[in-house]
């Protein structure tokens, strides 16, 4: 199962003939810039870097609201391939409102359903890279949440132990 918004996008692409699929991908690529962080937005995690296997810098910005729902913003350097731009816009829109855990659990098999087998080539593997980067930010976020929870639990236990000891005295 995919997140609802992403599922809709996948279904849309699967219905399109090849030429319209390309047009729609280009249209998403055109909109990739709209996924950049906006003024006044705050983020729980920011990860901006240029990796060896990607042509330019990719930035991932994660905000998780009070209900645990994620919002992802991304920045892309000018050398990033068009298909990667498309996938960036698709993922930012499609994963909006999912939890970090849902994103982390997402299988990558939907990529070919969106892009089509013809456009997925060895040199266009960076479309998977965007998903990997988003997932890695979600993983760090969840790990930190868990660590914070453990720290809270430890504090609670030591408080309880101390309180018990005080009561015994």
């Amino acid at each position: 199962m995919y997140p609802q918004k992403l599922d809709k996008i996948i279904n849309l692409f699967e219905m399109l003939p090849e030429d319209e699929r390309r047009e729609t991908l280009v249209s998403y690529a055109d909109n990739a810039k709209k996924q950049e962080p906006r003024e006044g937005e705050n983020f729980d995690l920011v990860d901006v870097r240029k990796d060896e296997e990607c042509m330019d810098t990719v930035g991932v910005y994660l905000h998780v609201d009070e209900d645990g729902k994620a919002q992802i913003r991304m920045t892309l350097g000018p050398e990033v391939l068009t298909l990667t731009r498309s996938m960036t816009a698709i993922l930012c829109k499609g994963l909006e409102g999912s939890t970090p855990q849902e994103i982390l659990d997402l299988a990558s098999d939907f990529v070919t359903r969106i892009v089509g087998a013809e456009l997925v080539r060895i040199r266009s593997q960076t479309i998977y890279y965007v998903l990997t980067r988003i997932k890695s930010v979600c993983k760090v976020y969840l790990d930190r949440q868990r660590m914070a929870q453990v720290a809270r639990d430890v504090r609670l236990i030591s408080f309880t132990v101390r309180a018990g000891a005080d009561a015994a005295e």
Partner: protein, 352 residues
């Protein structure tokens, strides 16, 4: 040391605005150096009517040779952005975009340009090889190309794939080929017109090429091995890290499935980019001669093989050697490192 001096074409009375001006000539016979390599004669110059240079002296000339060429051997193989913008609608010209970024053409291209996808259009879908002559004829016909059409190739990545497509066209014997100097990046940087409109041309009936010129411009594994064993010029145009065997993928690219790193024994390292300026245009002829003749030991009359990873970067160098320096017998080993690095028993050298 005997030096090869690429033929210098000399053009008089060329209309202004044709830059590189002397480029509008084609030589119908291969220019010949005399035995002492001190003078060069260019015979039977003729006009290339497709690109409009109309006032050229066609007399035979003989001019002294310099230590290094000051002009490209085949300047007619390049067109400049300024010239192209003024000739977008010329009859007998077809502009062809070929990119690494497979959707880049769809985001905007030079008005009138058609798109050739290096994999979907030029490569066989099953066997690792190029399309058949029948498919090539269909491809050209679809884009309104005839054997007389001058195809001007351009693309991203400083024309890697444009040179690859040009090389593939030569493989099928299409002779009228040119590169847009500086490629897509220069065109865009100069804010020249772009469109998303996909042009339609009346379909032609391109004759099925009788042969593919594999033997002339393409090297296979055995030939590259022979080149290595006989100590003839082999140029590895990949990045230094790939040549040394430190990495098995191109920097900034995903792994393309190579098991071992290194280079073909005896190959000289000369990354493709050495031939270009910052704006993706080609370096001047004398600089190119220093790079390839002096530093790589390439000699005229000797077979030269160039390779990279899958044959696209080496197409760029093949174009430089063949068209800009005028060397004959240059072949592109398109199997390149993705074949050599995986081949059982293929010797590999790892060195600094």
């Amino acid at each position: 040391m005997e030096r090869f001096i690429p033929p210098i074409l000399f053009c008089t009375d060329v209309p202004l605005g044709h830059q590189p001006a002397a480029a509008r000539l084609t030589a119908s016979a291969t220019p010949k150096c005399d035995s002492r390599n001190t003078r060069i004669s260019v015979l039977n110059l003729k006009l290339d009517h497709q690109i409009g240079c109309q006032h050229v002296s066609t007399k035979a000339i003989s001019i002294p040779m310099a230590t290094h060429p000051t002009q490209y051997a085949h300047p007619e193989a390049l067109v400049e952005t300024d010239w192209l913008e003024k000739h977008l609608n010329d009859e007998g010209v077809r502009i062809v975009e070929s990119n690494e970024d497979i959707l880049l053409y769809d985001t905007g291209h030079i008005p009138g340009a058609v798109h050739i996808d290096w994999r979907a259009d030029l490569q066989d879908p099953v066997i690792r090889d190029y399309i058949s002559p029948e498919k090539f004829a269909r491809l050209c016909s679809r884009y309104g190309i005839t054997p007389e059409t001058t195809c001007i190739f351009y693309g991203d990545k400083a024309n890697w794939w444009a040179c690859y497509a040009l090389w593939a066209f030569r493989l099928f014997g299409h002779e009228k080929v040119k590169i847009l100097n500086g490629g897509r990046d220069k065109w865009k940087a100069e804010q020249r017109p772009m469109t998303r409109e996909v042009p339609k041309y009346p379909e032609t009936n391109y004759p099925v090429p009788k042969k593919r010129f594999d033997k002339e411009i393409r090297a296979f594994f055995d030939e590259a091995l022979e080149q290595s064993k006989s100590d003839k010029p082999l140029i590895d145009v990949r990045s230094p890290g790939e040549y040394k065997g430190e990495i098995t993928h191109m920097p900034e690219y995903p792994q393309e499935g190579v098991l071992r790193g290194g280079h073909i024994p005896g190959a000289k390292s000369m990354p493709w980019k050495t031939a270009t300026n910052e704006d993706a245009t080609f370096k001047p002829a004398d600089e190119l001669a220093k790079i390839y003749l002096d530093q790589c030991g390439v000699k005229p009359g000797t077979d030269t093989v160039v390779y990279c990873r899958i044959g696209e970067r080496s197409s760029h160098t093949w174009f430089v050697l063949t068209y800009l320096l005028g060397l004959e017998n240059v072949r592109n080993y398109d199997g390149s490192w993705t074949e050599w690095g995986n081949k059982v028993g293929a010797p590999i050298e790892k060195s600094a």
